[in-house]
């Protein structure tokens, strides 16, 4: 279980995350949603020890992230952020192999090679595995980094906007993959998502943030509702049931006439 207590982050005088108390239980796919600047990414990077917190604490299975050795945490929790080095002279396979570092400290065993093959296969990177990272498209590179995190084989997998810069087909592929990781491998997946409909269609739990605070939290059914979402994003939103999926429609609304004369 991931548990935060009174978690806050202050940059100079502005509080980006304010007193967040949160529990994410084991298993399933949890989406963090909210408008820009709500503190979603900061929350995720504090949970994963990438950003030091200003106040409060984070525990992963009872281990305090600031006090537990990094190598110990790296076997339990993995994190992938939005921006990663792209100019490395590194093949996809080399990058994925780095995912085994917490387990084998750079000396790859036969078991490690098996994990690497599996992760490459899982993300359909077989055809590119010997290509260099700087020869790939943005989407392929993103998948290579996700493969590295999958290869790390941790109980908790945290991803910050993994759908950025990838097209619809690969976005759907990515979410299906994360869903499978949760369902088949029993991983606890936490993703920051911008597209509310992906959250609606794939997430078990949704955490909604606004202005650095926890605004709503609950199952997808509890959060994907007209009143909750309209309040969260401050625009009228309508949830429709289409083919068994709850889809939010917000792209154009008649309630506010446009001001252009």
């Amino acid at each position: 279980m991931i548990e935060t207590r009174g978690l806050s982050k202050k940059y100079q005088d502005t509080l980006v995350v304010k007193d967040v108390n949160l529990q994410i239980s084991k298993g399933g796919l949890t989406a963090i949603i909210g408008p820009n600047g709500a503190g979603k990414s900061t929350l995720l990077s504090m949970i994963s020890r990438l950003t030091p917190m200003s106040a409060g604490s984070v525990e992963i299975d009872g281990l305090d992230v600031t006090r537990t050795p990094g190598s110990e945490l790296a076997k339990r929790l993995s994190i992938l952020r939005q921006h990663n080095e792209s100019s490395l002279r590194l093949t996809v396979r080399d990058l994925v192999a780095f995912g085994r570092f917490p387990h084998s400290a750079g000396r790859l065993t036969a078991e490690d090679q098996q994990h690497i093959d599996e992760a490459i296969h899982y993300l359909e990177l077989g055809d590119y595995q010997h290509r260099h990272l700087d020869q790939l498209s943005g989407g392929q590179r993103q998948r290579a980094y996700v493969a590295m995190v999958m290869c790390q084989d941790t109980e908790y997998v945290l991803l910050d906007e993994p759908l950025n810069n990838i097209d619809m087909r690969h976005a759907v592929g990515m979410m299906q993959l994360l869903r499978r990781a949760a369902d088949e491998k029993g991983k606890t997946v936490v993703v920051v998502l911008h597209d509310i409909n992906f959250a609606s269609c794939y997430a078990d739990h949704i955490i909604a943030m606004r202005a650095g605070q926890l605004a709503y939290q609950g199952t997808a059914e509890q959060i994907i509702r007209n009143d909750v979402l309209s309040d969260l994003y401050e625009i009228p939103m309508q949830v429709h049931e289409l083919g068994g999926q709850r889809i939010c429609v917000y792209f154009r609304h008649a309630s506010k006439p446009s001001r252009i004369p």
Binding site: S45, S48, R49, L50, P69, G70, S71, E72, L73, A74, K75, S78, I79, L80, R81, N84, E85, L88, R89, L90, D94, L95, A97, F98, G99, F101, P102, A105, G106, L108, M148, V149, Q152
Partner: protein
């Protein structure tokens, strides 16, 4: 995860060239007694080897930590910082300091001060927000100039005649290696090289960036601080032996990347040393014995490195 065929061939060639250069340096144009030649040329060779090792290793590691192929410790003014520290030491303690203490002890003290200042500077420049590369180069250039001028000023105030002596050592010179520091330098280089080789796998992970390194369980702040400490010691040793060199590190590090075509430090670290040996010892043999030229080697190397620096900058601008 092994070296490509091209990399293996090039690296072996570089190793062969390095060995030939060393042999040539020791044996060409021997006109006097071997019992004189071996300690005389041997100590100079050892000095040059130490410079090749320090410059190669410190630059490759610095570039790994800062994720770029243009910035080097020299470009950030680390070597001139050492010159400043040793000049200030000379001024503060006066001539007494110069005579009563053994030179090795003075050197170790100066390195200690230098390490502390370098760590503080590094913290200031590289933590929190990573600034633009061009901003850092500019800061480094300005810092280097400032340190150099301060060192000059300190010495001029201290003793005008001493100043003229010290000024001669402001530029690298391989004909006047500071042989008194050879053994303490050898010790320092030995310890640092062993440490870096033991951290080679961590260095590989560090090249992926801070976030990925922390994710993979590398104690980032701790290891980067330790690496900066090692870099400062290496730069101090090199500067104390031959004086500051602005572009030599840049040259050998980029040669090492080109030779190996690999990201792995188990290859790039030794390759940078081999490239440095070929440039320094091979260059010295070429100039001294084959061309019989009095052209200062340091200047030629700096010229090549400078051209490479401009080329790298221009390519960076294009991208």
């Amino acid at each position: 995860m092994c070296l490509s065929r091209r990399g293996a061939v090039l690296l072996s060639l570089a190793a062969l060239l390095a060995v030939l250069s060393m042999l040539g340096f020791m044996t060409l144009n021997v006109q006097s007694d071997w019992s004189f030649i071996i300690p005389y040329r041997g100590s100079r060779l050892l000095g040059m080897l130490l410079v090749a090792i320090t410059m190669g290793l410190s630059t490759v590691v610095f570039q790994t930590i800062t994720h770029n192929r243009i910035l080097t410790p020299s470009l950030m003014g680390f070597d001139v910082l050492y010159v400043l520290v040793s000049s200030l030491a000379l001024v503060l303690w006066g001539t007494e300091y110069g005579t009563s203490w053994p030179i090795e002890l003075r050197f170790i003290l100066e390195v200690a001060v230098m390490v502390v200042i370098a760590l503080l500077l590094f913290r200031l420049l590289f933590t929190d927000s990573v600034r633009g590369l061009h901003m850092l180069i500019l800061l480094g250039m300005v810092g280097g100039l400032l340190f150099r001028e301060l060192a000059d000023l300190a010495l001029r105030v201290f003793d005008p005649s001493e100043f003229s002596i010290q000024q001669g050592s402001g530029m690298a010179n391989f004909n006047r290696i500071n042989l008194q520091l050879l053994w303490v330098g050898l010790l320092g280089v030995g310890v640092c090289s062993v440490l870096l080789f033991r951290w080679r796998r961590h260095l590989d992970v560090l090249s992926l960036g801070r976030d990925v390194a922390i994710n993979l369980g590398v104690p980032y702040t701790k290891i980067v601080t330790q690496l900066m400490l090692v870099i400062s010691v290496l730069v101090s040793i090199s500067t104390a032996l031959v004086g500051p060199m602005l572009f030599f590190g840049l040259l050998v590090a980029n040669l090492a990347y080109w030779l190996t075509g690999s990201h792995q430090h188990r290859w790039t670290l030794p390759a940078s040393v081999l490239a440095g040996v070929v440039c320094l010892v091979g260059g010295q043999v070429l100039f001294e014995h084959i061309l019989s030229s009095s052209l200062p080697l340091a200047m030629v190397i700096e010229l090549c490195g400078g051209v490479l620096f401009i080329a790298l900058l221009l390519r960076g601008v294009k991208q």
